[in-house]
């Protein structure tokens, strides 16, 4: 903010009271300045207020909600409070004592009557399969149970005979849980309650995260490889031709995602245009048809196409501002065209490369629809699994944890990018 100099030298408006600058009507200059500033701040705030409200409702609040859901664990705490209290005295070895089962029988009866038992059953089922069946069955008979309850429970379902089950109930009997995050990183709890990795064959998410990141990286590199020359060309062409080219680049924005994806399917499938053409040309045999869709290749091809504009636009806008005189100067100084391009031109496009790469990478990390449509098994990305957990398995806690991991890794990447190229982007040259 500019500091207004309060000393108009030698003019008639030079008023001073007690060594303090005042305006013509006698208010202290500082106060009147502040009043003027306040008005400006208020106007600025009013101008952004609608957007701010909108963002708050549509973005910040849902994201906060999501992150909260990834640790929120209210089910057991609200339905089985007495059981959990009784479990506090249990040392974690063997089967708990009678008071636990007495409380359990009582609370299961209530929960069964007011149908809150389902939530607990589903919650515990995330941790150990068969928990749902055990709880539903037991709760129906809990009303008729007689002391000693312990025996009755042990007879009711085999899970009640497993120490593991009580450990899980005790662990998840807290209002906040880390178990969704543990699951999101393919972890699990062992008998001693320590976090360990899942068995090799049950790990999903870490591999999927790695695949998502490497596919996004590949797509980013591809868009850069394809986008750089076209942006370069557009930046050096006269306006009219550049605009025409720009239309071709922007075409993906103008056609519906579904239409585009469908045309990729037509082109790339086993019986598709490209395979038929290759067979017709004799490049491949009838049994050598290429699988270019419903796998990782399909996802990468389609997403590169869709995300290309996000690379070209920032690149083009940066390149357009680089006057040709730099490269000319380099050549006049004795640099070969390649040296001039590599040492002088490319470093100046770094802000564009950085912006385009970050944009494409971040968008592709969270991309959902294209992998879902053309990705098959091997072309799925983490967001497809998040969608699965939200829509099919209804494990919102895990979906939220996976989403939060994604969000946090993007933020970390952005921070790293900022450290490396953001503030000092020119250093890399």
């Amino acid at each position: 903010m500019t500091q207004i100099d309060g000393t108009p030298n030698g003019s008639d408006n030079d008023h001073k009271v007690n060594g303090q600058m005042v305006t013509v009507d006698g208010t202290p200059l500082k106060a009147s300045l502040k009043r003027a500033e306040r008005k400006r701040t208020l106007i600025a705030f009013l101008l952004v207020a609608p957007l701010l409200t909108y963002l708050l409702i549509s973005f910040i609040f849902p994201i906060g909600q999501m992150m909260w859901r990834s640790v929120d664990n209210p089910q057991l705490v609200s339905v089985l409070p007495k059981t959990l209290e009784a479990l506090q005295d249990w040392d974690g070895e063997g089967i708990p004592d009678e008071p636990v089962f007495e409380a359990l029988a009582q609370e299961l009866t209530v929960a069964s009557a007011n149908r809150t038992i389902g939530r607990v059953a589903v919650r515990l089922n995330y941790e150990i399969s068969a928990a749902r069946g055990a709880l539903m069955r037991t709760s129906r008979s809990a009303e008729d149970m007689e002391p000693p309850y312990k025996e009755a429970f042990l007879d009711a379902h085999r899970l009640w005979n497993e120490t593991e089950f009580y450990r899980i109930i005790k662990r998840e009997g807290r209002p906040l849980t880390a178990s969704y995050y543990v699951a999101a990183f393919d972890g699990t709890y062992n008998e001693d309650g320590e976090i360990v990795m899942q068995d090799e064959n049950r790990r999903i998410y870490i591999d999927l995260f790695i695949r998502t990141f490497s596919m996004s990286l590949g797509i980013t590199l591809l868009t850069l490889l394809l986008g750089f020359p076209i942006s370069f060309l557009m930046a050096s062409l006269p306006m009219r031709k550049a605009n025409l080219l720009m239309i071709f680049v922007l075409l993906p924005f103008w056609t519906s995602l579904l239409v585009r994806t469908t045309s990729w399917i037509v082109l790339l499938q086993q019986q598709g245009v490209i395979n038929e053409l290759l067979i017709f040309l004799g490049v491949i045999g009838e049994d050598g048809r290429l699988g270019m869709i419903y796998n990782m290749t399909g996802t990468i091809i389609a997403m590169t196409h869709i995300l290309l504009p996000f690379m070209v636009l920032p690149l083009y806008s940066v390149m357009k501002t680089i006057p040709p005189s730099y490269v000319r100067a380099a050549k006049s100084l004795g640099a070969t065209p390649w040296t001039a391009f590599w040492r002088i031109y490319v470093p100046q496009t770094l802000p564009g490369i950085g912006a385009g790469a970050v944009l494409v990478f971040i968008i592709s990390i969270g991309y959902y629809i294209t992998p879902a449509l053309v990705g098959g098994q091997s072309g799925q990305m983490i967001s497809n699994l998040i969608a699965y957990h939200m829509q099919t398995s209804l494990n919102w806690g895990l979906a939220a944890a996976l989403g939060s991991v994604l969000l946090i890794s993007v933020l970390i990447l952005y921070w790293v990018y900022n450290r490396l190229v953001g503030a000092d982007s020119l250093k890399l040259g």
């Binding site: 005189s325 730099y326 000319r328 380099a330 050549k331 006049s332 640099a335 040296t339």
Partner: protein, 366 residues
């Protein structure tokens, strides 16, 4: 002066033509020989093809027709980076991602000069323009004048024999421009390089150059030393473009040796030097510098004397600029030196003015 004793020809344009669009010639039949060590300025109005000529010389544009020779060899097919010509661009074109030191080291680096020698040369070049202490800064951290100096040093650091400058001072304010003019001229004398300089500022051209090529409409209108250009313009365009000039149109009535009598449109007859119009009945434009017109005092006589009326007086300190109506026109300018006896002139006053036929030049009619 250089042109009176031309040294060996270093740069030559031989019947060079240039068209960008295949329809219009931007440079029409350019013939120009520049000697080694010469400071030659291309001066002309905007769009007259100066930059185009420079770019052809540097290799960034190709001549549509004709040859450009450097040291006797045609360079049409040599790419810019092999020409070894230093160039200063109007916007300086300092590489923004490099420090000043790196900018200067760049031409040496691409020539494979090793590091210690490079550093010595960079410091030497920077000290030529008094910028040693700025080697670690980036171009954005320098003022316009400092950037301009660095650009100059960078164009000189690899010791080219020929340096091209395209309006290098265009972006600077007047004081700085004058100072830089002096410095560039000084470096030129000191290093013995050949400089081809482009400007559309005539004062700059007059103060710096050995010879000036006045461009208009893709042609060199006149190629001469600054003094010749001012004193002896060969056509109406040059007379009008360089310095101030009273233009009077008329027709040649008679001729006596070098001197022609010209009948002006209002009927008055003027004695004048025949330059590019000679024939009786030929149309001509007379060119007369305002400072060569005098108030006729008693006992003085001029070959051209006329009654005039003072229309306007502008006091300019060292001289008084007066607008007169004379010979049927009212935009006639006379510069009167500021001496005590000239103070008596008043607006509306009738005076008698005169000029020598040697100072009045009969040029082409355009």
């Amino acid at each position: 002066m250089e042109n009176e004793n031309p040294g060996e020809v270093f740069v030559a344009f031989d019947r060079v033509q240039k068209s960008y669009d295949g329809e219009e010639l931007v440079v029409k039949d350019l013939n120009l020989a520049i000697s080694k060590g010469e400071f030659l300025t291309m001066l002309g109005p905007s769009g007259s093809g100066k930059t185009t000529c420079l770019m052809m010389l540097a290799g960034f544009e190709t001549a549509t027709y004709g040859d450009i020779l450097l040291d006797g060899k045609a360079i049409n097919n040599i790419p810019p980076h092999k020409r070894g010509i230093g160039m200063v661009f109007q916007n300086y074109a300092l590489f923004p991602h490099m420090t000043i030191g790196e900018n200067l080291a760049f031409p040496l680096e691409v020539r494979g000069i090793d590091k210690s020698e490079r550093e010595a040369k960079v410091m030497n070049a920077l000290s030529m323009v008094q910028m040693e202490s700025f080697a670690g800064r980036r171009p954005a951290q320098l003022s316009g004048g400092q950037q301009q100096r660095v650009a100059l040093a960078r164009a000189l650091v690899f010791e080219p024999e020929l340096v091209l400058m395209d309006e290098p001072l265009g972006a600077l304010d007047k004081n700085l421009r004058e100072q830089m003019q002096y410095e560039i001229k000084h470096l030129h004398d000191q290093l013995g390089i050949t400089v081809v300089y482009v400007t559309h500022d005539q004062t700059e051209a007059l103060t710096m150059s050995d010879r000036i090529a006045v461009f208009d409409d893709g042609r060199i209108q006149q190629l001469a030393s600054p003094a010749d250009l001012y004193e002896r313009p060969e056509n109406a365009f040059v007379a009008q473009f360089i310095g101030e000039n009273n233009k009077m149109k008329g027709k040649i009535e008679s001729k006596d040796g070098d001197i022609v009598t010209v009948r002006l449109d209002d009927g008055s007859a003027v004695q004048s030097l025949a330059i590019s119009a000679h024939e009786t009945d030929e149309k001509t434009t007379l060119s007369l510098r305002p400072e060569r017109v005098f108030v006729v005092k008693e006992g003085q006589s001029f070959s051209n004397c006329f009654d005039a009326k003072v229309e306007e007086l502008i006091y300019l300190g060292d001289h008084i600029r007066s607008r007169l109506s004379v010979c049927g026109r009212n935009d006639f300018i006379m510069k009167v030196p500021n001496s005590s006896d000239n103070h008596s002139m008043r607006k509306g006053q009738s005076i008698r003015i005169g000029w020598s036929e040697q100072d009045c030049r009969a040029l082409d009619a355009s």
